[in-house]
């Protein structure tokens, strides 16, 4: 029953590269963002239980180091796309928590004007090309973002070498779209980095029950000539230090990569998951390796004892308090914000609305998106 997904394997150790060390400032920023996601998700669950949030809602708690460590390795203009467990990526990419929470509350001030919901977080100014609800459907999209970066460089002379990041969960490994995308990524020499957030479960089905040869997932990428690397997704500092060189390499050579991040989610697949498929002990074991507690401890441990010695107990409490207030503000904002007017029902359907597109609806342009 017990999973061993976050044990650093021989391969992970072997692939350990000497990337740039995470600076003290970066480490504090990482801690802050991870705590923001944790606090945000805890409020999200409360709001869901109070029926303020509807639909499906997938909580990111436990996986914070994955989004934070990978996105820290990017440039601001690198496009990012993810699946439906997307609140963490949105916040790590810089979306304001109020825009994220208001979206889940179905409000006009939400990132998608209340038309997307929990699974569809889009943020154009922060180059987040959406959370996507269909498992694996974002993998060809991620390829396309990278293809466009390459096309703009080669054909249109953008002069800018960019990479695209595409997240997927281990459940998406069962989708054919992903393997079509891997094949095309190599054929078209496309700088897409597939980040597998391997939390050990495809909904309620354990990795070994849904993926053949589950100990060697990187082989799947390497079969298509895509470099595959395993990393510990619970230690944000080591993750950054290994991931950053992968990004730099893909950017420089304009090639794809696949990274298998071993992580764990503390909550169920979605808010409606009774979690009969795993034991409470297993969850507790992972909580002992918690990525935020680990980072906070590393930063608080004095230099002489092998830590960074840059954070006091008081600093950490103050940071937590500040984040708590920020997320509380986001909740209040989302609560008080206006729902979209009914006229918004038929806007944003066509960029060029024309007569007779529908027997029933007259389409138009809506109000401007709050993020634009």
């Amino acid at each position: 029953m017990s999973q061993t997904i976050s044990e650093p394997t021989e391969r992970a150790v072997q692939d350990q590269s000497n990337g740039p060390r995470m600076s003290d400032d970066q480490a504090l920023e990482a801690l802050r963002t991870m705590q923001l996601i944790r606090e945000f998700e805890s409020r999200t669950m409360q709001a869901y239980q109070r029926a303020k949030i509807g639909g499906f809602c997938h909580i990111y708690t436990g996986q914070e180091a994955c989004a934070v460590g990978t996105i820290m390795s990017l440039e601001k203009t690198d496009p990012v796309v993810t699946a439906y467990r997307d609140h963490g990526h949105a916040l790590a990419r810089g979306m304001h928590p109020s825009a994220c929470m208001a979206e889940m509350f179905g409000k006009l001030a939400g990132c998608a004007k209340g038309k997307g919901g929990s699974m569809h977080m889009f943020d154009r100014p922060n180059h987040l090309y959406g959370g996507h609800g269909i498992v694996g459907a974002q993998t060809p999209l991620g390829l396309g973002l990278a293809f466009a970066c390459r096309y703009q460089l080669d054909v249109m002379g953008s002069g800018e070498k960019r990479v695209a990041l595409c997240y997927l969960g281990d459940g998406a490994l069962g989708q054919g779209a992903f393997y079509e995308a891997l094949n095309l990524a190599t054929l078209f020499s496309t700088p897409v980095i597939y980040v597998l957030e391997n939390n050990g479960y495809s909904m309620g089905t354990a990795l070994k029950r849904h993926a053949a040869n589950a100990d060697r997932l990187v082989d799947r990428a390497e079969a298509f000539g895509v470099r595959g690397v395993e990393m510990d997704g619970l230690d944000v500092m080591s993750l950054y230090e290994q991931f950053r060189p992968v990004v730099d390499d893909c950017r420089e050579r304009q090639v794809p990569a696949f990274v298998d991040l071993k992580t764990y989610r503390y909550q169920g697949h979605s808010m409606s998951d009774p979690q009969k498929y795993r034991t409470k002990d297993e969850v507790e074991q992972y909580k002992e390796k918690d990525s935020i507690a680990r980072l906070a401890s590393q930063l608080m441990t004095p230099k002489d004892d092998g830590g960074r010695g840059i954070l006091s107990e008081d600093d950490w409490s103050a940071m937590q308090k500040e984040i708590k207030d920020l997320v509380k503000e986001a909740m209040d904002f989302a609560e008080e914000a206006e729902a979209p007017g009914e006229s918004e029902l038929t806007t944003d359907v066509y960029a060029n609305p024309q007569p007779n597109l529908s027997p029933q609806s007259v389409y138009g342009h809506g109000v401007k998106n709050p993020l634009l």
Partner: protein, 364 residues
């Protein structure tokens, strides 16, 4: 550090879309102002398609063509013949047989501001890409609250190519036109094919462009000068007072054939080529029905939930009292597409079946 969130929620100004910038819709002229359809510059339907793509690719480097066999093979149906030589492999791109992969890739690329033209060798093969072309392309603008659209053209052969059997003979219009957010264009002749494809490439929304293997060799005059045909404007192919016949794509020719024969019997048909089904120029249809009081709709897809059904529903909603006879539709027969030549011929709409339908309607 997260900055203060002060949402700006103002009305979007016409023509400047926040996500897509200035939408470059060409200036359309009325049908009578378009260059003449008569002339001696006779080219094939496939060449008209090629001219449209080539002209737009010369003008806009964001436009590229991708599909199976479009480059080195010069197109499975020779639509893209010679384009690799002119534009090179970065813009005329051979894809492996991975419709879901390359269609999805192009949707991502369109979000990034490129203008992909995706060729499906057959629309039958687009079914394996259904998730991408139906679930992503037409919904992206809405789902992102207006932040990202999807300016893309999906094009390829639709309908029975000739004894290809059930799986290769799909008419996808009935099924796909159901989805809001996409536009669907089905040209019946080389002149329209060129003018509509140029418009499709300029349009900022996803356009499903349905061609026909059986028409790629059709020849007609296509003028040298540039022209654009707008979506949602039907063309009156033939005028008559007795009955309205509407269709789109290949069956327009069967309607014309039937109308010719009916004229011999003294029955004059108003024949409308709808050219696009989403938007559907229902106003022109209503205008015609108010003159003829009778309507037959010809559609080369299955009847259940078809574009023909939709057209008839709209006619009933808009001019029920003007009808002297219940509307009639001529669709393909409601069975999987057969292989045997005689069965396939019986399955498809043809002039004979249209004649029968019209005679039944006008005789009552």
């Amino acid at each position: 550090m997260t900055t203060a969130y002060t949402p700006e929620l103002t009305e979007i100004k016409d023509a400047i879309h926040p996500a897509l910038g200035k939408v470059e819709i060409p200036d359309f002229v009325s049908e009578s102002e378009l260059p003449s359809r008569d002339g001696d510059r006779v080219i094939q339907y496939r060449e008209a398609l090629r001219e449209a793509m080539t002209e737009e690719m010369r003008r806009d480097e964001r436009v590229f063509l991708i599909g199976e066999e479009v480059a080195e093979y010069n197109g499975a149906y020779k639509v893209s013949q010679g384009m690799l030589d002119e534009f090179g492999p970065k813009r005329i791109i051979d894809s492996p047989i991975s419709e879901n992969g390359f269609a999805g890739m192009c949707i991502g690329a369109a979000m990034m501001g490129l203008r992909p033209i995706v060729e499906f060798m057959s629309w039958s093969f687009s079914l394996v890409a259904a998730d991408q072309i139906l679930n992503n392309a037409p919904k992206m603008l809405y789902m992102s609250g207006g932040q990202w659209g999807c300016p893309i053209v999906f094009r390829g052969n639709d309908g029975a190519g000739g004894q290809l059997g059930s799986t290769h003979s799909w008419c996808v219009e009935g099924m796909f036109a159901n989805v809001p957010g996409l536009k669907m264009v089905i040209p019946s002749n080389p002149y329209d094919a060129k003018g509509l494809l140029k418009t499709a490439i300029r349009d900022p929304d996803p356009v499903f462009f349905l061609e026909s293997e059986r028409m790629l060799g059709d020849k007609a005059h296509v003028p040298e000068e540039e022209y654009f045909i707008p979506f949602g404007r039907a063309r009156v192919c033939r005028e008559g007072d007795d009955i309205t016949l509407i269709s789109w794509g290949r069956p327009v020719h069967f309607c014309m054939e039937a109308a010719e024969k009916l004229a011999g019997d003294g029955i004059e048909c108003d024949v409308l080529d709808m050219r696009s089904v989403r938007p559907l120029d229902i106003d022109s249809v209503i205008e015609s029905v108010k003159k003829t009081n009778r309507i037959v709709v010809v559609d080369q897809s299955w009847p259940f939930g078809s574009v023909a059904s939709e057209a008839i529903a709209q006619i009933c909603e808009r001019c029920f009292d003007w009808l002297d006879h219940e509307p009639v539709r001529v669709n393909t027969i409601d069975v999987p597409t057969p292989y045997a030549k005689n069965l396939e011929a019986a399955y498809l709409p043809n002039a004979e079946r249209i004649l029968e339908a019209v005679r039944a309607v006008v005789s009552e």
